[in-house]
Symmetry: C2
Subunit: 212 residues, 2 copies
Amino acid sequence: MKNIVVSDLTLRRMPKYLHFLRPLQKLGHEFTSASEISRALGIHHTQVRKDLALTGVRGIPKVGHRVDDLIKAIEEFLNWNNSTDAFLIGTGNMGAALLGYDGFNKTNIKIVAAFDADPKTIGREVNGYRVMNIDKCANLVERMHVHIAILTTPTVVAQEVTDMLVGAGILAIWNFTPIKLVVPKDVIVEDAELYSSLAVLSRKLTDVLASV
Amino acid sequence: MKNIVVSDLTLRRMPKYLHFLRPLQKLGHEFTSASEISRALGIHHTQVRKDLALTGVRGIPKVGHRVDDLIKAIEEFLNWNNSTDAFLIGTGNMGAALLGYDGFNKTNIKIVAAFDADPKTIGREVNGYRVMNIDKCANLVERMHVHIAILTTPTVVAQEVTDMLVGAGILAIWNFTPIKLVVPKDVIVEDAELYSSLAVLSRKLTDVLASV
DNA sequence: TAGATTGTTAATCGATTAACAATC
DNA sequence: TAGATTGTTAATCGATTAACAATC
C-alpha cells in the first residue's frame, strides 16, 4: 500500500481546515462550501478544492461538503484518527508546555513518557508525567516500539540526543530546537521553526514602523 | 525610508543562518562560505547567496564571508539588534513556556508584561513575571506604546482578545492559537503554526509505515 | 429551469536551480 | 597564475490562480 505524495505546503494547510471545521461542527452546521472555507481562511477557493480533493471527499454541486465527512477525511489523511505513541525528550520550558498541552488529543500524537538528563528533574512529576532518566530512553524505544520523538532539549545536546534516538530506532523527530539535525536519510525530521514566524513578524513590523 | 519587500519564505530562512553562524563565531571561525552554509543547512548555494545579498553583506571571492559581518547584517535585517517591548496574553502552558524561554534575548522581542483573565492566576508569579489582569491591558498598550502582542490564550477567546488588542493600538500579533484571526488589514498577524509541522510529520510517517 | 457550487484543465506567477562571468 | 568563491542573469520547476465544463 502506497500513499500519494503531497507537498509540504499542502500538508501544512490541512490542520487549518480542521480548525475551521470543528467549531462549525459544534454549532451543528451540516454543510459548508469551498468558497466559505476560502473566505474564512484567506486561501484561494481553487486551492481549497484541490486540497480537499486529495483527501478523497466529494462534494455535492450547489450544496457543498458535509462537515462531518470533511473532518473525518482530513483526519484520516493525516492519520490523526489513530493515536501514535511518542516520547518527549527534555522537560524544560517548552517540553513541560507540550506535556501539559491538551491540543494533542485532536492529533495522533500521544506522549507516553518524558525524559531528562538533569538529576534534579528525574523522578519529579511534570504536568502529570514522571520524568525518566534519559539513559533508559534507547532501551524503551526498542522495547515499546515507539516511532516518534519530540525533541525539546537544550540546543547544545540536540544532535547527541538525536544520534541516540536514531540508533535506538526512532523513525521521526519533531524538532523544537533551532538547529538542523543530521540524520540518515530515511529518518524524518520536522522542524517546529519557532523562530521563523518571529522573523517574518519582526521584519514586517520594521517595514510598517519605517514607513510612518 | 522604505525597506525592500522580501518574501516570507526568504525571511523564514534567515534565523536558520543565524543559528548556524553563532556557534561558528563562538568557535572563533573568522570566515565561512555560502557553500559551507548550503551544505550544513541543506539549502541550495545560489539560494544562500541571494538571501545573504538581501542583507547587504558582500563576500570576498576565494575567501568567503566574515562570520561577524553576516551575523550583524542578518540581525539588522530582521531588526533583532533593537529590542522591542511585547505583551504576552494568556499564561497557560504555552504562555508560561515563552515567559521562561531564554532564546528571545537573541531576538528583538522583550516581554515586558504578562496578562491573564483567570482570577486564580492574576497576581501570581509565572517564570519571573507578575501576572496582570487582562482588564488593564488595553490601557497599558496605549500608555507604554507597545506594538507587539504574543497571543497564547485559549482558542475560544482568541478573537475577542485580538479585537481588544487591535482597538488599543497593537500593530503586530504573534498568534500561537490555531485559528485565523480577523484583523484590519494594516495589522500584522503571524501564525506560529504549531500544528503545521506536526501534520507534515504525521503524514510522512504514515507513508513510511505504509511502505513497510 | 437558473444559479450555485464542484472539480478539472490551462495559464500565470514566483521560487528555486543552473549557468556563467567577475574577482581576489 | 590557477582555482575557489562570489554574485548575477537565464532556465526550470512547482505552486497558485484563472477559466470553464459538469452537475444537483
